[in-house]
Symmetry: C2
Subunit: 225 residues, 2 copies
DNA sequence: AAAGAAGTTGACAATTTGGTCAAGTTTTTT
DNA sequence: AAAAAACTTGACCAAATTGTCAACTTCTTT
């Protein structure tokens, strides 16, 4: 029962499946346990490196039970992957034409950093999947990402056209923002070394947000003369 | 023989073991073949996910022969990992106190991007190792990284103290530069989607360098007023 | 050219792994 | 409360995987 509580709590903390364990109690709860454990393991080891006994152990269920809900390792993996895209472009909503560029980009950076910190395992899983070639991301998911990116690039272009920011390649700018905001969660070990700390705290994330926005915003601001 | 040639060529292209196949011909050549193949496979699958038959096949040697040179998968992995740190901090030499900040940082970004592009597999392997918790990086290697980072942070601080750039947290700035310069190699699939291309070419890397330096350098430049 | 060292190889053993299943228990339905 | 559905579980199997090895070939030394 301690297991149930902690598993549910962990799941609530992460972004995985917001629905509570009320309508379809047992199945929903166990699937959640498994997926939460799976995200953690897959995020470190990848599809081929993860052992399903490990996932079973981490979820508190015997292996046979895991196979009662999922018919293969692949199925668990793709189920876990499917959650990722939504949280990926969620922060993107801040980049909208009717906002001031400075506010919008700062809000985006904060949202992205917060998300990376709160859903570190999911962030790592996404990184792992891309590192391995993104072969398990559905075509629909990748299309969606491309569409959203193009759409948001037009917002940046419009800001530049309106003289609100310097002209810049929007897509490379997005890559810059993605890479740095995800870095702290994906490569925490390296970030700790670089910052000379044992683990990243809220203060570090705050300083990260400050440094990123300071640098990028100043870099984009129009200079008269 | 076509195999030998291509393996040697691939090895020369990558940063792995510069020594030619002349002083200790057979052993050196085969170890190189194996390590080159291993970096490629490990960079995608990680230590647990990689199968040594895969490495054997990719190196063109039968599995038994691989075990003639290495006594375990772990040993191949750590041998491959040990090469990484040098190429990691190589670009860092551009950040030196006697240069102008603008030149230095631009040179650093270019060097880092070039290295990531030329040694894509090694870059991915490094990323993979950190993602999994950096448990196979030697203590010496991590100490070295910490030391170099601190040293270079002092250069940034000195530039700021001399009024050459805006005050900034040097360590977070480094993280920003690392993350974005490595992104194109590590997450090529995502970069392609973002840039709406099928594969990254020299032009894309060039535009990346331009956008990064434009943004970061303008962000750091002192404004009178 | 003979002998010893170095390298090659496929077949083999031991272990791990993904996945199944039949026999049980618990929960839900009627 | 009985029957049906849903869930649990450890034992089990087949395939995959790591690592070994003895017989063999090629190179180096003298």
């Amino acid at each position: 029962m301690a297991e149930e509580l902690s598993a549910t709590h962990a799941a609530a903390e992460k972004g995985l499946a917001a629905q509570a364990a009320s309508d379809e109690p047992i199945r929903a709860r166990n699937v959640l346990k498994i997926l939460t454990a799976a995200v953690e393991i897959f995020s470190r080891k990848g599809l081929d490196g993860a052992r399903i006994v490990e996932i079973a152990k981490a979820s508190g269920l015997p292996k046979g039970n895991v196979y009662y809900y999922f018919s293969s390792k692949e199925e668990i993996y793709t189920a876990a992957i499917d959650h990722l895209i939504h949280s990926w472009d969620d922060a993107f909503r801040h980049i909208s034409a009717d906002r001031e560029p400075g506010d919008a980009i700062e809000a985006y950076v904060r949202a992205k950093l917060d998300n990376a910190r709160e859903n570190a395992a999911e962030t790592r899983l996404f990184a792992n999947e891309i590192l391995q070639g993104a072969e398990h991301l559905s075509v629909a998911a990748r299309d969606h990402m491309r569409t959203v990116t193009s759409e948001k690039a037009r917002v940046i272009d419009a800001w530049a056209a309106a003289g609100k920011i310097e002209k810049i390649d929007a897509r490379h700018l997005f890559i810059l923002l993605w890479s740095v905001t995800q870095f702290y969660a994906e490569f925490e070990a390296l970030a700790c070394d670089a910052l000379n700390v044992d683990e990243l705290t809220a203060v570090d994330y705050d300083m990260a947000a400050k440094t990123i926005t300071q640098t990028v915003l100043r870099g984009l601001m129009i200079r008269l003369s």
